[in-house]
Assembly symmetry: C2
Homo-oligomer: 253 residues x 2
């Protein structure tokens, strides 16, 4: 199975955005136009989207474009199982119904989201590893590799980082401290930037801090901003780009 590009779009600021398929997988790739032309491979950041969104959601496109224009780093996203037009299985269908019921009843979302996202992650982790094989074989893409994903992107990112030794740095955040996730986090030692919202109405503050605390990385930074779950400030995306520049470009940033 090979990676096939289904569309290519070049913006005036030198960002080439392509959509691709890889068997049943669907994703997007953003590269500096110069990387291919000059035959000088650039590092890559994998972008894991949040629950209910998809490969080219505004957050994915915004972060990808910042990585390319701000640091000359390529970015790739992948639709998670059941997202971006991919088929929804029975477990996911039931979980989504349960999530709606919890929201309407004003009940906590964590008890539904945590096992739901663990189910998605079990499928998403081998998919990401397969996609990484294909992406690293492309001209213009070198290494090292980073991973950037919040919310469901963190539920997928933690087991992915545990399984995948080619990922050298990560930006994660905004998730519950479920025991098996915390256990996996303890085995993750790559440099980490972690975001959470200080006044998150879904994720208890102590639980969010406990998941950050669990990570085994000697070099880890927490960015906690005042505000509710969806109010993560825009400047955290620029901070993540600087973090990846520092760790993936091997120069002083």
């Amino acid at each position: 199975v090979h990676l096939s590009f289904t569309s290519t779009e070049t913006s005036t600021d030198g960002v080439v955005q392509r959509e691709f398929t890889l068997g049943e997988l669907t994703g997007a790739l953003w590269m500096p136009a110069s990387a291919e032309q000059e035959g000088r491979p650039v590092p890559l950041v994998l972008l894991g989207h949040g629950g209910g969104t998809h490969r080219t959601s505004p957050a994915m496109t915004g972060r990808a474009r910042l990585l390319v224009t701000g640091a000359g780093i390529a970015a790739a996203s992948l639709d998670a199982p059941g997202h971006g037009g991919r088929p929804v299985d029975t477990v996911q269908g039931e979980a989504m119904a349960a999530l709606w019921r919890a929201r309407e009843a004003g009940e906590p979302e964590g008890p539904v989201v945590v096992p739901f996202n663990a189910h998605i992650a079990r499928h998403a982790v081998p998919e990401w590893r397969r996609a990484l094989d294909a992406l690293l074989a492309l001209p213009g893409i070198g290494g090292p590799v980073g991973y950037f994903g919040l919310n469901m992107g963190t539920a997928i990112g933690i087991p992915l980082l545990e399984a995948e030794p080619r990922i050298a740095a990560a930006v994660l955040g905004q998730f519950w401290c479920e025991e098996s996730l915390a256990a996996a986090a303890r085995r993750i030692t790559v440099p980490l930037e972690y975001v959470l919202q200080w006044d998150d109405e879904h994720i208890d503050r102590a639980e969010g801090l406990a998941l950050f605390d669990a990570f085994g990385a000697a070099e880890k930074t927490l960015h906690a901003n005042a505000g509710r779950h969806k109010e993560l400030p825009r400047f955290e995306a620029a901070s993540a780009v600087r973090f990846f520049a520092r760790h993936l470009l091997g120069a002083r940033h």
Copy 2:
């Protein structure tokens, strides 16, 4: 009493460093060489040093130079009472002796440092306000004004921010959550970036987080880094400069 410059040094990258006196006060001022020449006033950040250091310690000089070269913002530091050659009063002398005894005995430093720094702050706050009057009267210095101080710089900064309405943004961090400081913090509403060390051997983690939590600012960000008290990463200084650029230059950064 007027501000008098006692030395001027211009570096090749366009930073003018001057030392000054203002009555019994001693301080330093860093400005972009272009600010005076072009008659275009620049914002100012007040730099409060930590305990046992002084106006031109490496941390002060490093932060000042980053502000000037990275954002075109002027910076000024002031020797705290009993620091940088200023006379040490009886209370300070006794507190320093008590601090040495606590260190040698392996006892916690907080119970000595907190009241010691509160004593210094009572004198330092009116001194900073007097210095700010003089600094804002200089050609090339406009506004708005920020404040950047960690450790003792935060013990001084919190009552200074409470007293001084001309300060529009602050970077603080690394202090104990003493009750009167926390009460003052609750009345501070300017945007805040706050740093602490996740594995601080002197300041209990919960206490450090509680002081951040106390601030009344709607816009506040915590940067917590893995590591001990003295291991604050260098990149936090660059982050502080971007924070001040965002809030004092009034442009998108």
